[in-house]
């Protein structure tokens, strides 16, 4: 039986080293933890009162010496650097390869809560896949007036080239990364990432690093495993092979080493046993896709592509693309190769279309949505534009085509000049903007300068859809490391945390 108050100090000490009492030295300071009742706190119900499932972790954090926790933090950070777990920042030559700052204090979620989320995510991806099949097929949802025609067909991510195409198992989106936030009102979907969602490798790397530092606590909390993600992804991609071809040949198509997510591409290729290919490695011959190997040309059945639609095939999309493969879309349409995710899925994660996802759930599944959307106003509607202009200082305004926290105004944190600038942009092209209320994203304790301080967090679970939908019980948990900031994107000062789904 493991001791209730087991703590990582025991695994920090080298065998035979003299163990210092955990009560010696300065302990982690929770007294000055800024608990704000208006904001949902992932660990505390009230000041000094941890949630039931967080007690073990809280107790452990309180009894550990600050220095010891900092050592764990440093080790976690160092492990990322040593293992080359990096991302690339564009236009910053000095910091070509950067590591994402990781906070070693995990965020906890009860298994029961996770199960609810999971069911909601499965429902949501089912509706989104049906929507994609529909908008590239009969367009029933548009004809029935559930979604305005211009919202779909004016969307730059709608690909007319995909009309009439069908995909194996109707899985247009094989890999989805849904951004979820929590407030006092519960979980809400902030964004569906349906094109080339990234971050899953950091989920696994965070887990590996934090688990190594907090071994006993990890076991005590009965944390659900996430490391089998690669196996599930392989299974998913295999199920999508053209014509159910057994033992298909898999490839992961990367834009190349300069892509910000190259580490992830390499990591996933290794995890799923796929060749990591660039466009130059592939060619289309007689409608089939081949890769250049040292033994000749080898047929490829499934391509997990991490290249945006625009660059996939210069014969169909951007002609200046050097990242893609001429003829690839034709091979795909003929059913000789599977592309995961299918081209054109971006229409379903457009920020305007997002507002209609609850309606899609009702329309296709005849169910009430289990996961809420954030209340969204489409500035293409005059009344919504007017409301947005009148309330800029309270709203978050997003440009529909942007991602990564760019092209966004966070009203309460903006200056009058910034608001004036956005006002002009809104008036000039209202259809390109949406607005949402500024949410009080939940906060979770982080180790900052030896103290526990609350920081805003979100959650990106990864949903896999092949013959069935699968989700590992974990997620990329992003943290806005700057005090008070709501922006969790890694390119803008965000960091990561390990999410523990605990069976307590």
């Amino acid at each position: 039986m493991l001791p209730r108050r087991a703590w990582p100090g025991e695994c920090l000490s080298a065998p035979g080293a003299r163990r210092t009492s955990p009560t010696r030295g300065q302990l982690l300071d929770f007294d000055s933890y800024d608990h704000d009742p208006a904001i949902f706190d992932e660990m505390f119900v009230a000041r000094g009162a941890p949630r039931e499932h967080c007690r073990a972790v809280h107790e452990a954090l309180r009894s550990v010496r600050r220095q010891e926790l900092e050592t764990i933090q440093e080790r976690v950070t160092r492990s990322f650097s040593q293992e080359g777990i990096t991302f690339t920042v564009y236009g910053d030559e000095e910091a070509e390869e950067r590591t994402i700052p990781i906070d070693c204090v995990p965020r906890l979620l009860r298994l029961a809560e996770w199960r609810e989320l999971e069911v909601g995510l499965v429902q949501r991806i089912s509706a989104l896949n049906l929507f994609l099949a529909d908008v590239y097929g009969d367009c029933r949802i548009v004809r029935d007036g559930v979604i305005p025609i211009d919202v779909v067909f004016d969307c730059p991510q709608y690909r007319p080239e995909m009309r009439g195409v069908s995909v194996p198992n109707n899985a247009w989106v094989a890999v989805c990364g849904t951004d979820i936030v929590r407030t006092h009102e519960g979980f809400m979907v902030l964004e569906d990432n349906l094109r080339v969602p990234s971050g899953v490798s950091y989920m696994i790397a965070n887990r590996k690093a934090v688990k190594a530092g907090l071994r006993r606590l990890f076991r005590t909390c009965r944390v659900q495993e996430v490391e089998h993600y690669g196996r599930l992804l392989r299974q998913t991609l295999t199920e999508l092979a053209p014509g159910g071809r057994p033992d298909p040949s898999l490839a992961l198509l990367t834009p190349g080493t300069w892509n910000s997510a190259f580490y992830e591409h390499m990591f996933l290729a290794q995890e799923i046993g796929a060749e990591l290919v660039e466009g130059q490695d592939l060619l289309v011959n007689d409608g089939f896709v081949y890769m250049r190997t040292t033994a000749g040309l080898r047929r490829v059945d499934v391509i997990y592509r991490r290249v945006d639609d625009d660059f996939l095939d210069p014969l169909v999309f951007r002609r200046d693309s050097l990242l893609g493969v001429p003829g690839l879309l034709n091979a795909f349409k003929r059913g000789h190769v599977t592309l995961a995710n299918a081209p054109g899925t971006g229409v379903a994660d457009d920020k305007s279309v997002y507002a209609y996802v609850p309606d899609m759930v009702r329309y296709y599944l005849a169910e009430e949505p289990l996961l809420k959307n954030v209340d969204t106003r489409l500035c293409r509607r005059p009344e919504d534009l007017e409301y947005t202009l009148d309330n800029l200082e309270h709203l978050v305004v997003k440009r529909v085509g942007e991602s990564g926290g760019h092209g966004m105004l966070v009203g309460p944190h903006s200056t009058p000049e910034e608001r004036d600038e956005f006002r002009e942009s809104l008036r000039a092209a209202p259809a390109e903007y949406i607005s949402q209320p500024t949410l009080a994203l939940s906060r979770s304790p982080c180790l900052v300068d030896g103290r526990a301080e609350p920081r805003h967090v979100d959650l990106r679970p990864f949903v896999l859809t092949g013959a069935q939908t699968r989700i590992v019980p974990g997620a990329l948990c992003r943290v806005a490391l700057r005090r008070g900031s709501l922006v969790v994107n890694s390119s803008q000062g965000g960091g990561g945390k390990d999410l523990w789904v605990v069976d307590l």
Partner: protein
Amino acid sequence: MLSRSAQGVYWMGRYLTRAHHVSHLLELHVQALVDRSVEEIHFGWRRIYRAMKRLPPAGEEWLPEAEELALADSFTLADDLTFERSNPDSVWSSLERGRENARQMRHCISAEMWSCLNLAYLRMRDLETVDIWRTPEAFYGQTCNEIHNFVGIADATMYRGAAWRFMRLGRAIERVQLAVSLILAQTELGRRMKRRTLGWASMLRMHHASEAYSRLYGIEIRPSRVLDLLASDPLLPASVLSSVRAAAAELDAIATGPDAEADAAARRLAGRAGAMILYDWPEARDREELLRRVDRCTRDLHGTVLDAFVDYGIQDAPLR
């Protein structure tokens, strides 16, 4: 195996072998700075630069005669050979390129190999010559050890597939070229010196051959014997013959490339280079010329290997 991946691990092997080679040369040479004569120190620098087919920063005639200046200039030269980014063969440049190839081909090598190499890279990334100059031999020794560790870890952990073969093929081809260049630099410079034996003892150390030489020939250094050992002894791992044979063996272990003609040419070149050392060497009247022919043959081998497995035309390539 993906052709581009094969090319990546091949180059990784080459660059890391080069980084190790230059580190090892510098490790031995900075040791010599402590107690060797100015003549010997200058000879050593000239030999390194000639072997690398590169001029020192201010040209070969720039090396001064005064001892104090020689030591100061040694700092500059070591910097040029160690950390200079614009020198493609400096230790840093080679290590960085080897690591970059490894980064791109991480899925083809073991996680342990990557960690080992990345740690070496991170250690060196923020250093400058001034940081290492108090005990430079320790720095170069550690760099050599790190690359040795990498090779050992590869040996223990890497799957014996095509990636393994191409990595070793790259290392073998690089070793042949480095060894031949160094031997030719020694013989060409040695002819100009009054002391005929100058530099030959250090040539043995550079090829890890001192003990073997002592066992075979005793303590008297004779250039012709050293040359025989370094070029044609099949039992010395760093000899030209051993490296040529290693390249041929790796090539034999790799399945036939899609370009059958280039594939056959590559195998012929590897065999020919080996035969030149094995059969022509003992009776060769102009051994330097023979080594130059081996060098040309190995350079052709490099190009032909890439033609056979990487840059082949797709028209006649087999479909699988």
